[in-house]
């Protein structure tokens, strides 16, 4: 029997609900504001940008800033470079890390633990420490000013392998794999037809982190890419930072435009993560 709420309780419930939403709204504003501010600055004239208090509404400099951006940078070429590298990095990382994670999660082989622990240990080594050997290798391969160094060395990375291994170990039942084998499906086909569909939430997490990581990769792109047409967005925009003369209008316009693909990817993948996680919880995936 459901107890009826008193008028006082209902009011309290409503007030606490409203308060809860107000707090959530306030917190979300803290996260949304920097993005909004970038878009506001992208539309303001350079001489009208830095004010106290900061400007909160859009200005009239959108066309000038856009023209200035295109005058100083091959911006859309830079966007293509960033998008191409990020897509290739995401695609290859997902494929290779899932393969490696699946092998560690479901196969028994000699040295399995040692190999897995060895991969994990590499997570503790700061990336910057390896930059000089990495750079030397890329020079040796003659890969300077190409896209290869920006996705091939990280295709099978420790974080991705660990993530996929942990997820697949708990989410793909051995019985299901055995059933597939009894049906005569080969190991590679099992990976493609059984493992990949079941790993969608982890793939979404890995995909989104790889895409954003690749898109924001500044130092790697800085040392590898050697001319304006080859630059990715972060390197291209940073090249606009002068000393005597800084065109903040162009920089803000470029930053605002470069946020768009990231937002789209985030919205797409976050939907995937949430829907698949929920699906998993309702179906009660077997272990």
């Amino acid at each position: 029997m459901v107890k009826k709420r008193s008028a006082g309780h209902t009011l309290l419930w409503k007030v606490s609900g409203t308060l809860k939403y107000l707090v959530l709204f306030g917190v979300s504003l803290i996260f949304i504001y920097p993005f909004y501010y970038v878009f506001v600055l992208a539309t303001r004239e350079r001489g009208n940008m830095f004010k106290v208090p900061p400007p909160f509404w859009f200005g009239h400099g959108i066309v000038d800033n856009y023209n200035s951006l295109l005058k100083n940078l091959p911006f859309w070429r830079n966007m293509l470079n960033s998008t191409g590298i990020a897509v290739l990095a995401t695609f290859t990382t997902v494929i290779f890390c899932t393969m490696a994670g699946f092998a560690f999660a479901k196969y028994k082989f000699k040295g399995e633990n040692f190999l897995f622990n060895f991969i994990l240990v590499t997570l503790a080594i700061p990336q910057l420490l390896g930059i000089i050997p990495f750079f030397k290798m890329m020079v040796w391969f003659n890969w300077l000013n190409t896209w290869f160094p920006l996705f091939i060395p990280t295709m099978a990375n420790a974080f991705g392998i660990f993530l996929m291994r942990q997820y697949l170990a708990g989410s793909v039942p051995l019985d299901l794999l055995d059933a597939a084998r009894i049906d005569g499906i080969g190991e590679f086909k099992i990976l493609v037809k059984v493992v990949f569909p079941l790993a969608k939430p982890a793939i979404a997490v890995l995909g989104i982190s790889t895409f954003i990581g690749s898109w924001n990769n500044f130092f790697g792109a800085l040392v590898i890419l050697r001319d304006k047409r080859a630059y990715t967005i972060p390197v291209a925009l940073s090249s606009l930072l002068g000393i005597h003369n800084i065109d903040f209008g162009a920089i803000m316009m470029g930053t605002a435009l470069s946020l768009v693909p990231l937002l789209v990817i985030f919205l797409f993948f976050s939907k995937q993560i949430i829907s698949n996680l929920l699906a998993g919880s309702l179906k009660g995936v077997a272990r």
Binding site: R46, F50, F135, K136, S238, S239, L241, G242, I243, N245
Partner: protein, 429 residues
């Protein structure tokens, strides 16, 4: 048969060594040979140098030299260069270096010594501002880079605000006099109980002036750290006094409010290199044209804050080093090239022969028709020479922490000095 093979091998070795020997003797740039030189730079240097290499004069002198530019922002450029030098590969033929990074490259090597043959930079730099050359010269006389622009430090001040406060900053005799004037400049203009005009942004913008911009001078001639002590104690006392006087707005450099303070009138003075005039004029405070002025820093303190050098990494092959050196020589010692750079990006010339050019006597509208360039040149010629040491970067970093601790009241002057001295000594042991 063996003797025939032996004879053949000897002949091959002889001819190879002769050929190699002959090749080494060719240490001259060949203007008829097509060559592409890439210049790695930062900020807006590309804008200026592009105009130089597209000039008729450059094209007539170097018809077969093509110059490409790779530009990154200030910090990123130096990070890329450091990586390439550490890796021993991947640097460009000519690399620009900001003065703040020169000591690092003096310490770690990787740049060509330009003082020797075939470059003979000592002849090329004879008309370049002496202090700037000394900053890129190692203690044993190696010239590792050539100054292309310099930044003599001046005091920028707003005439309308100083007039209103009844102070004259055109010739401030001492820092005490500056602080006294600063008290008059720090006012509550609208009477709401809040100060809305300060003398300067922060004491942190001052410490470099009495220490020659932090270029060299961290060690005494005997190799002792932060000596003579009095020189450094005076600086810490100065920043403490400024904070205690309440005349600074306590703004973080390059923050939004810091940038805005130069146009809103929140601050009346600022200490920086000559290049700051270009930043004020073009984007920081363009509408304040005619109100800003420049003067010697208090007590006619001499310092440089900023400046660009051009270098050739050691890893570059000799056949590329020779045209690279020609390009460096042109950009640093050709009066027309120096003037183009100055006009394009306000980078003050390092070549003293153009300090008498009529352009230096021209009144500058932004500075209320003051002959500001003449003042920059006058200061540049007086800045004392000092060679940098390989420990300068360490000393400077630790010193900045000491200055900050004194400003925020975390350390007393003596304690901050002692701690900094000990830390530097420990690091360089």
């Amino acid at each position: 048969m063996k003797s025939v093979i032996g004879l053949l091998l000897s002949f091959m070795l002889l001819s190879t060594s002769l050929f190699a020997g002959g090749k080494q003797e060719v240490k001259k740039y060949n203007p008829d040979s097509p060559v592409t030189i890439t210049l790695g730079g930062y900020g807006d240097l590309e804008t200026a140098y592009k105009a130089v290499v597209e000039s008729k004069d450059f094209k007539s002198k170097y018809p077969n030299m093509k110059v490409k530019f790779v530009t990154n922002d200030f910090a990123a450029h130096h990070d890329r260069l450091t990586t390439a030098i550490a890796a021993g590969k991947g640097a460009f033929e000519v690399e620009a270096i900001e003065i703040g990074y020169i000591a690092k490259f003096v310490a770690n090597g990787g740049l060509t010594d330009l003082s020797g043959s075939p470059f003979n930079a000592k002849d090329a730099v004879k008309n370049i501002v002496k202090y700037a050359v000394s900053n890129a010269t190692t203690k044993d006389g190696k010239i590792i880079a050539v100054p292309v622009d310099i930044a003599p430090a001046v005091m920028f001040y707003r005439k309308s605000l100083t007039d209103k406060a009844g102070v004259d900053l055109s010739d401030v005799k001492s820092w005490d006099e500056y602080i006294k004037a600063g008290r008059k400049l720090t006012v509550d203009k609208n009477g709401d109980g809040k100060i809305d005009q300060y003398a300067l942004t922060s004491p942190e913008s001052v410490w470099e002036i009495p220490l020659n911009g932090g270029k060299g001078g961290w060690f005494s001639s005997g190799g002792n750290v932060l000596e003579p002590k009095e020189r450094f104690i005076n600086v810490l006392n100065l920043v403490k006094k400024i904070r205690k006087a309440g005349i600074d707005a306590d703004l973080d450099a390059w923050s939004q409010s810091w940038l805005a303070s130069f146009k809103t009138g929140l601050v009346a003075t600022h200490f920086s290199g000559a290049w700051w005039g270009g930043a004020l004029r073009t984007w920081v405070a363009p509408k304040e044209k005619g109100d800003w002025r420049v003067a010697y820093p208090p007590g006619k303190a001499l310092a440089s804050i900023g400046g660009t050098y051009l270098s050739i990494p050691e890893q570059i092959s000799l056949d590329k080093k020779l045209p690279a050196w020609e390009l460096i020589k042109y950009l640093t010692t050709n009066p027309a090239a120096q003037l183009i750079t100055f006009k394009k990006i306000d980078a003050f010339p390092s070549l003293t022969t153009i300090f008498n050019d009529p352009v230096m006597d021209e009144p500058v509208a932004y500075f209320g028709n003051q002959k500001a360039r003449k003042l920059f040149a006058e200061i540049a010629l007086k800045i004392p020479e000092s060679s940098v040491s390989k420990y300068d970067v360490i000393a400077r970093d630790i010193w900045i922490t000491a200055v900050t601790n004194v400003i925020i009241g975390k350390s007393s002057v003596e304690a901050a000095y002692d701690k900094a001295k000990k830390q530097i000594e420990n690091r360089i042991q």
